[in-house]
């Protein structure tokens, strides 16, 4: 039974009148452990405009991938979505039942996975894997039409048509990742989540894959969330950056603003730590430790590592507030 979901195209509009594709409101994802809940994502809110790439950055374990998995409704047990809303084209994914969810997956929401090397089924030919994504959602298709469509997709991501019949192990890492991109755009989704799509690749191939992502976005006017910690790649590809720390969103701003005038102390340290070949800088972020995610302290989550910590930071948690147009920050320094 297929539940056809109506896409409410002009569902919501941001303050500046731009169309919003995805809106995440007060999302909480906890992992249950015998000694208490690990608050992997704690009260996170953000949105993605239509046709933009939002970069989601932060150190390992800060909840980037968990956020992405929560949007896909694929948090693995013992993790669970505790509360919050994920509105994609106006539909709340958190409330959907399983079959409605299967319908949304890939139709409106696609994933470019983290481990490109192992993300394709090793015993299935490339064309079968793309075809099954199409046919699961659009029903059986005439063979020649389907083949042409798959070949067009491969061409669009810069792959030769000879890989159509190949198995994943016959492709290089970069080619596999581009197969994943071709697969992700097969059904013209509204949103593509790219989870560190280049992390397993060398710099040359990273560039090719990054360029492919950009081309695809331009051509299809699709929204994207690009998860990663490669600030260089983020600077080249994304429109806005959202910075996460210990399960919280600490700053969201246009990419230029993040690099030129970062406001949150964590973002400032992050930007300062970007290596440069002209000078060797010491890594500043190593001071202090992250608190136990099961038992966050009262007040700001960054207080234990923050160089500008004040008394109020130990008492009250700063909310994410808009300071300038499109520039949000969660810090007591700017009150």
């Amino acid at each position: 039974m297929t539940v056809q979901l109506e896409r409410k195209k002009a569902a919501a509009a941001g303050a500046n009148g731009r169309e919003i594709t995805l809106e995440v409101k007060n999302l909480k994802v906890y992992y249950g452990t015998p000694t208490g809940n690990v608050r992997a994502v704690d009260d996170v809110s953000f949105h993605v405009y239509k046709g933009e790439i939002l970069g989601l950055v932060g150190e390992s374990g800060c909840g980037k991938t968990t956020t992405a998995m929560a949007i896909l409704r694929m948090v693995q047990p013992p993790g669970r979505i505790v509360s919050g809303q994920v509105l994609l084209d106006g539909i709340d994914l958190v409330g959907l039942n399983e079959s409605a969810l299967r319908d949304v997956r890939w139709n409106t929401l696609a994933l470019i996975p983290q481990g490109a090397m192992n993300s394709l089924n090793p015993v299935m030919r490339i064309h079968t894997q793309i075809a099954e994504a199409i046919q699961t959602h659009e029903g059986r298709q005439p063979k020649d039409k389907l083949k042409k469509r798959i070949l067009d997709l491969l061409t669009m991501v810069g792959l030769p048509s000879r890989i159509y019949d190949m198995y994943p192990h016959e492709l290089s890492g970069g080619m596999k990742q581009r197969v994943c991109i071709a697969m992700a755009i097969a059904l013209h989704p509204s949103l593509i989540i790219a989870d560190e799509p280049t992390s397993a690749l060398d710099v040359v191939v990273q560039r090719v894959v990054g360029q492919t992502l950009l081309d695809v976005k331009e051509r299809m006017d699709v929204s994207m969330i690009l998860i990663g910690h490669d600030m260089g790649l983020q600077a080249q590809l994304v429109d806005r950056i959202a910075v996460m720390y210990a399960g919280h969103m600490v700053e969201v701003a246009p990419v230029e603003a993040i690099f030129s005038e970062p406001l949150h102390p964590y973002t400032q340290l992050l930007i300062e730590s970007i290596p440069s070949i002209k000078e060797r800088k010491p890594l500043k972020l190593t001071e202090g430790i992250t608190h136990d995610l099961r038992n966050p302290p009262p007040g700001c989550i960054f207080q234990e590592r923050c160089p500008k910590v004040m008394d109020v930071c130990r008492r009250d948690r700063p909310p994410l507030r808009q300071l300038k147009p499109e520039h949000y920050v969660a810090c007591h320094l700017y009150e």
């Binding site: 694929m74 969810l101 997956r105 993300s119 089924n121 299935m124 016959e170």
Partner: protein, 336 residues
């Protein structure tokens, strides 16, 4: 693109031939390493039975000449290998006018029928149960079968056979306790004959299936858990594929590969492992024949059976090996 090539096929065929030749040679050498002389052994047994045998020395010589044992080893060896290749396995010592190849040919279809079917059944059932045990959507009661399958793996199949005979043949009287087919039926492709075969095979087959199922289930469960952590399982779910498709084409399809390798290895043990089952159920297969051969010191029969076992096992393994690239495209035979 991988797949089967002629050069690989010929190489593999050479290996098959070599395996059989080596097996044949070992069968030839081992009895000759043992002290004593088979003909002298038979005659001395006759002497022990009747007290005196006339012209025993002449008889020994005559029989040695009759069996070619007076020839030097290399000539005996060449004749032996030549005969084996023509499936001429000689006369049975214990049942003299019967020829070994006839006795084996009569028993082999029963064993292959019973064991191949039972092994494949237990492979299919065991792997399905194992895969379901590791699948998160499986109802809890199946997932809790793990201790049960562990228990069954540790019961040897002859013990299970005795238990089954007691319950179903002796106590409930539903199924026959022994034999392979009812008396007085006309052999051939007619329903009474075939149904009688199935009827008689149920108990021994069940013993083998239940006892070996746990082995497959445990292996498969482990493989499925490993596969469940693979990145392609996450992508399959994100693609919105139906759970049944993810289970079979992603989970089981990838987890079954090492299980097939294990199946190849277990085929070798099939007939040897069934000796006790066939004995308990008095099933007229090769295992039962081998048992009789050992009890009656029928050396030619034992040699003939071992030769046939080497031959069938090597052939089954060859067939599975050639089929392997069909199930795993990553296996290429080009570089050998």
């Amino acid at each position: 693109m991988g797949g089967l090539t002629w050069s690989y096929f010929l190489k593999r065929l050479g290996m098959w031939f070599l395996t059989i030749w080596l097996g044949t040679t070992i069968i030839f050498v081992i009895p000759r390493l043992a002290p004593g002389d088979p003909v002298a052994g038979v005659i001395s047994r006759l002497i022990a039975q009747s007290g005196f045998v006339e012209n025993s020395a002449e008889m020994i010589e005559a029989w040695r000449a009759r069996f070619g044992l007076d020839q030097p080893w290399p000539i005996q060896y060449i004749r032996y290998v030549g005969n084996s290749l023509r499936f001429d396995l000689g006369y049975s010592l214990a049942n003299f006018p019967s020829r070994v190849e006839d006795m084996v040919a009569q028993a082999l279809p029963w064993t292959i029928g019973l064991l191949l079917v039972a092994t494949l059944l237990s492979f299919v059932i065991g792997n399905t149960i194992g895969a379901l045990m590791a699948w998160e959507r499986t109802p809890g009661w199946i997932r809790n079968l793990l201790p049960v399958s562990l228990t069954f793996t540790s019961i040897p199949f002859f013990m299970l056979g005795i238990l089954l005979i007691y319950i179903f043949a002796f106590w409930l009287r539903w199924l026959p306790a022994s034999g392979s087919v009812g008396r007085g039926l006309i052999a051939g492709l007619n329903w009474p004959y075939i149904s009688s075969i199935i009827y008689h095979a149920i108990l021994p087959a069940t013993a083998i299936v239940i006892a070996s199922m746990g082995f497959w289930a445990l292996g498969m469960r482990g493989m499925m858990i490993t596969t469940a952590g693979e990145d392609y399982m996450i992508l399959a779910q994100a693609k919105g594929l139906k759970p049944s498709r993810i289970f079979w084409l992603y989970g089981v399809r990838n987890s079954i590969l090492p299980q097939v390798t294990a199946l190849t290895l277990s085929l070798g043990g099939i007939v040897g492992g069934a000796v006790l089952v066939e004995y308990i159920f008095a099933y007229p297969g090769v295992g039962y024949l081998l048992y009789i051969g050992i009890v009656t010191s029928d050396y030619t029969l034992i040699q003939g059976i071992v030769f046939m076992l080497v031959f069938t096992t090597a052939t089954l393994v060859l067939i599975l090996d050639l089929l392997y690239p069909l199930i795993d495209p990553r296996i290429t035979y080009e570089r050998g």
